[in-house]
Amino acid sequence: MADSREPPPLFNDDDDSRKDDDNDDLFTSAVQSPVSELTTPEDQTKQEGAGDPLTSPPPATSFPPDPSGGDRPDLFESCEEPSVGGFSSVPLEQPAEGGGTQQELSSEPPANLVDASSVEPAVMSSFITPAEEASVLDAAAPTNDDDDDAAAAAAIPTNLAGEDPALSSEEALVTVYDSETPEVHTSAPELDADSSLNNVPSFLGDGETTEISLDDNAQEVSLEDETDDGELFDPSSTPKLQLNQDPPLPASNILPPMGAPLTPPVAPITPTATPNLTPNVTPAAPTPVTPVAAARPSAEQLESESGDEFIEISISDPQKIGDGMSSYMAYKVTTKTNIPYFRKKHWSVTRRFSDFLGLHGKLVEKHLHSGRIIPPAPEKSAIGTTKIKLGSDKSSDSSSTDFIERRRASLERYMNRTAAHPTLRSDPDFREFIELDAELPRATQTSALSSAGVLRLFNRVGETVNKMTFKMDESDQWFEEKTQQIENLDAQLRKLHAAMEGLVAYRRELATSTASFAKSAAVLSSVEEHSALSRALHQLAESTERTHTIHHAQADADFYHLSETTKDYIHLIGAVKDVFHERVKTFQTWQHSQTMLAKKREAKAKAELAGRMDKVQQAQDEVAEWEAKVERSQEEFDRISRAIKKEMEQFDIVRVKDFKDMLVKYLEALMTSQQQIIKVWETFLPEARAIS
């Protein structure tokens, strides 16, 4: 709860600082409801008249807005100026301007009217003349909100600049923000870096690769923004949007990455994290940054298509490293892929078990709050591990080999599940995990008994209490149904899993008892004095011995095909519940903000009644602040809701497919067993007939 709220204050600070400088009303409104109806039509016209962004922006046209910019709040100006400096691309300014104006126009109360009207002509002219995508893009982007601004800014400039590596763009951004108020820049670069990093890969994943024409990018982005806006704020604009090739869907897709930076601090990926990636990885990471903006829509299409690219991770060669309790198991992680942002097609690294847990922890920290279903990592098993640690001889004990094999298989499934998610597989931490050919920094948070573990436990207890006590008033029917379905699914899967475990156990028992009968029959055959009968009994012993092997193999199939997959899904359902809970938390924040806003309004009214102007001013600020917060948390809530819907859609598809695959594979295994049994008895039958 607490940390998810952290970022907003950051922004509020920004707002405050700006407000202090300038006309507060204008500002707050701009921040709160950035998107205006006006934007959309304008943008559209621009798109229609889309020319080549690179060529079209004449510096002259770009400057006209400047004067108006002077009147404008610092925010926009500062935003533009640096970017201009950083990327030396003029068009950037205009859009920002345009955005600014539009915001004013749309959301502005009468107070600003003068201002707005004065600006308008300039803006309009600027729009019409260059009419280039890039500007549209920027224009649209800023409207969305600060973060998106930043993200878009980061993305587009690089686009224009060509193959600028990410790092440079980040630096550029930093400088951009440097010129601004100090508070802003500290936070903003981080967010940018984050969002850009997040988005990039998913775009790249599309297979379109870096060489997407700017036109396309621009268009897509602008469309996307529009849809976004339309959906969010202006119902009337939606029809138009639907005319576009991009249905509303992409918009919701786009949201998550944008939203990501808003919520909890994404420390790990900040600029400092990038250097961490080590020389190997860095080149891979930055390059993708270029086409960020376009990445979003295409990445989403990818999720459903994704046919032409693959990533396949296999875990092999588990080996024990070290002795005694300090020993650990290391696994070879081999990746095969054709995704362009990986440097190679085929490579392997060595990872230990806790690394896998560490990876999961990082992914959860980064992506859970944006509504992503993070595949759960295999459980730690203290008993199994200790057994292996203390086992003096490797692989002598069959139970520990079993354990290792089971773990290896579950790690493999875990990795492939994670890799199947376009956003997760492009996460720098994930890529570092599978690509970095060196030991990873030891994950310290994974041990159950570490302080982090205890803390985690406490957190979990708190969450559980929260889950139990807070009953969300569900407004969205989809969620209501889905939550219920997930609950049912959970219960049913557990039941099914129990049945499967039973089957595995019984089949193992059958295998064992068959084996002991085989031995007994062998003894009987040696005792039998009638030679033909003795031979037949001997054959019977051999046949049952073979059926034993078949049953045993079948029990393994029961286990690996059915039981383990089902268990994975029980855990995945847990992850889904986590995501749902994340949404509830967001909802709580929103509710809280609303209550606070109401309180502040009341305070303001009181102050006004009392006629204490100084207090009124302060109250006004606070009201504005909370209005912003309400706005943001509502947006956040909408965003996570949509993200979850999107994720669930994918989850449902994958689950259905997985279950089908599982059952088909299992039935095939059963059939193979039966065919083997047929062979066994076919060889036995003549022997029985031969008794005379």
């Binding site: 009987l524 009968l533 008794i691």
Partner: protein, 406 residues
């Protein structure tokens, strides 16, 4: 299976016995006994024993009586205790009808009713009822086999007690042994087994054949007993374990299908159906293994034990004979009661000679009977296993095909 076994026994006993005694006409129709009906009343099972005969001793050519398990045991004991039959392998008595296991399971199922769905419960119940029925049928068959063997035996068929058993329309009013008799019986059996051990240790057999046969039967009995136990465990694991978990799997899956909705429901229902069918096949595999394999083994555990008893009786007889020899020697030395001793010695000698000859025949027939029964049942077992495996493979194949078509 008992039907099968019975058939074997028919043909077997016919073949071997006709070879050694020409005196009795062994036409199948001379004395035909079967159990035409059986009724389970509370704890008691009432068997309707139906007889068809051409033997002149019997009043009617065809008749039926109602007998209970205890009366079968009484009949067996009459044979067992008859000195005249000491040289024969007495057909093993049928096992006591035991439905406790089924009842217990049914009760357990009732207790666990809340924990499973109605569908699951019904299936389990059906399964148990089928099991109960199978046990019942088996019990009936065991009793029938006992009577059939007696009826087919040239000597036993003429036994008076057997006639009474078959013909007497009233209740034989055999009571279960009272306490005193039970204690006596226990005492006798202890006596007997110590005697057996003592004899086995001290008595040197004059005939190598019997010495060898004794060694074989001891070993064989132990081995086949173990095999029976293991086979039972195996079929049990197959039936109550694997087959029953298919039920849970099947219902679990179909419920999952309902929750998943249209995307998966059809698919899953097909799989669920397949599991349900596969369950039935697995259940049949288990019960056929039980019938063809375990029961054959089980029967020969008891038959082997009867053969062992025969060997004991012969050995006892040998000991008596040697004792008679000693007595004769002593009598001659003392020159007292020589005649009586001579007579006793002669009797014992005759007895022993006669018994040895009978026992040899009986043991040989036991062997032939065993080999034939094993042959028949092993072939049938293999054929049934093949049939079921093929059926299941086909079932799975069809299912996979249907799934692919989707």
């Amino acid at each position: 299976m008992m039907d099968g076994m019975e058939e074997v026994l028919h043909s077997e006993t016919n073949g071997t016995k006709s070879g050694r005694s020409d005196t009795v006409d062994l036409n199948d129709s001379t004395l035909q006994v079967d159990i035409s009906d059986a009724l389970s009343e509370r704890e008691k099972v009432k068997f309707t024993v139906h007889t068809k005969t051409t033997l002149p001793d019997y009043n009617k050519p065809e008749f039926s009586v109602v007998r209970q398990h205890e009366e079968f045991i009484w009949l067996h004991d009459r044979f067992d205790e008859n000195e005249d039959y000491a040289g024969y392998i007495i057909p093993p008595p049928p096992p006591r009808p035991d439905f406790d296991a089924s009842r217990e399971k049914l009760q357990k199922l009732g207790e666990g009713e809340g924990s499973m769905t109605k569908e699951e419960f019904n299936k389990m119940k059906q399964e148990l009822e089928a099991e109960y029925l199978a046990t019942f049928k088996k019990t009936v068959a065991m009793h029938e086999v006992f009577l059939t063997r007696l009826a087919q035996h040239p000597i036993f068929r003429t036994d008076h007690n057997f006639k009474v058993f078959l013909e007497y329309e009233q209740d034989l009013s055999v009571r279960t042994k009272n306490k005193k008799e039970k204690v006596e019986g226990l005492f006798r059996s202890i006596n007997r087994s110590t005697d057996e051990i003592l004899l086995a240790a001290t008595q040197k057999d004059v005939d190598d054949y019997f010495e060898k046969e004794k060694g074989f039967l001891l070993e064989y009995h132990a081995a086949i007993k173990d095999s029976t136990l293991k086979a039972d465990k195996m079929t049990q694991a197959h039936k109550t374990g694997v087959a029953d978990s298919y039920i849970k799997l099947s219902t679990g899956l179909s419920q999952l299908g309902t929750i998943e909705g249209p995307r998966l429901e059809k698919f899953i229902n097909k799989v669920s159906d397949t599991f349900e069918k596969a369950r039935k096949v697995e259940g049949r595999v288990a019960s056929d293994e039980d019938l063809k394999l375990s029961d054959t083994l089980r029967y020969y555990v008891r038959d082997g034990s009867a053969a062992k008893d025969l060997l004991y009786r012969r050995l006892r007889c040998l000991a008596n004979y040697e004792q008679a020899n000693k007595n004769l020697d002593r009598a001659r030395a003392k020159n007292k009661d020589v005649h009586a001793a001579e007579l006793a010695q002669q009797n014992a000698c005759e007895r022993f000679e006669h018994m040895s000859a009978r026992a040899k025949e009986e043991l040989n027939s036991f062997k032939t009977r065993r080999v034939a029964a094993f042959k028949k049942n092993l072939i049938e077992l293999a054929e049934l296993e093949l049939k079921h495996a093929k059926a299941q493979a086909q079932l799975l194949k069809n299912c996979l095909q249907a799934l692919q078509e989707e």
